[in-house]
């Protein structure tokens, strides 16, 4: 499983995850009410400076914005059409700045650090009988399931191709679902056999 995390260390890696999340939340709240183009351009410029300070690998991640561009063009067009091009430009600048800023947090924070940082927020979930450890187990299981499901799909696809010479496509969905469900039953049985999911309130 690839992550968006940058292995190359930068100064932002050393900042505790909690602080980065709080800063992100505060900035996102602060910039929401404003619609001025210079302000938003300034924000975007500041975020880009932040990226430069994080190093070349971080700058390369700006390319992740590319799939968003057509939508931004459409939205800008709609703004122009309904009256205010300026408000549209401010909106686009704000969106770009916030997406990049949030991505910067993701790039510089390891997944388990992030999990530790949000754990206090998750504690109330214990009321519903879900301990943070059970949640951590679910996250781990989910990430492990992904490559497993790919392998399952590929196996089905290959057997379909062996019989028809074509790609299975959507026809594989039903057998795929049944096989994955069987897989999940086995996993659940294995989990129960090993003492079950953690239930305690403490991590």
């Amino acid at each position: 499983m690839i992550s968006l995390y940058l292995a190359e260390r930068s100064w932002a890696h050393a900042v505790p995850a909690g602080w980065k999340l709080i800063a992100l939340a505060l900035i996102s709240l602060l910039v929401t009410p404003f619609d001025s183009v210079p302000l938003m351009a300034g924000l975007l410029a500041a975020v880009l400076v932040l990226y430069v300070s994080l190093g070349r690998a971080a700058l390369r991640q700006v390319a992740l914005l590319r799939p968003m561009l057509p939508l931004l063009v459409i939205l800008l067009g709609l703004h122009w059409w309904t009256g205010s091009l300026e408000a549209g430009i401010a909106m686009v600048l704000r969106l770009l700045a916030m997406v990049l800023l949030a991505n910067a947090v993701t790039m510089t924070t390891r997944m388990d650090d992030m999990m530790d940082a949000v754990e206090p927020i998750l504690r109330p979930l214990a009321i519903f009988g879900l301990s943070p450890r059970a949640l951590a187990l679910m996250v781990a299981m989910m990430l492990r399931f992904v490559p497993l499901l790919f392998a399952l799909w590929e196996a089905l696809n290959e057997s379909w191709r062996a019989r028809t010479g074509k790609r299975g496509g959507w026809r594989l969905l039903a057998p795929f679902c049944i096989q994955t469900l069987r897989l999940s039953h086995h996993t659940a049985e294995a989990l129960t056999a090993r003492g079950g999911a953690p239930r305690g309130k403490r991590r």
Binding site: L4, P67, L95, M138, V139, V146, L181
Partner: protein, 187 residues
Amino acid sequence: MKDRALVQIALYAAIFAVLGLMPKFDLPIAGGVPITAQSMGAMLAGVMLGAKRGALAMLLVLFVVALGAPILAGGRGGLGVFFTPSAGFIFGWVAAAFVAGWLMSLLRRQAVFASALIASVVGGIVVLYAFGIAGMALKTNLSLIDAAKACLIFIPGDTLKAVLTALVAQTVARGMPEALLSRAPTR
């Protein structure tokens, strides 16, 4: 929570991720709010798991996305996606799965295909778009009507996904009825 429920929530969250990563289903006709199989993951979770577990599966997806895993269509992920114009859709998946699951148990006496189709359309399209359009209007300062116009192109693809979800539900109901948890007798 029972072990089986726990595993199945993780499983449907994983299916959701797989649907997003699958290039065959990825049709990036218009970027940003990409046309992907992913909203089908929300429909499936609701229709198969029921309201509560379906919504929990989608919450797990959101959580893992927030932690930084690039499991959304086109390899997107991380905290950034919650600030894009399509953030409304991302939060909408939770509600979509919940409503779809709730409808499935409401229609438990009807044929599986029909009720799964209704559940997918109402949950995965009506509810999802209500959230998506509201989110887009909020993030982009467009009026609700204009935001709705920007979303309309995705409706045909989503209808197809609802039909596929219903087909899957019917097949599973035939081949492995106990796996259709949304219709399991409440314990």
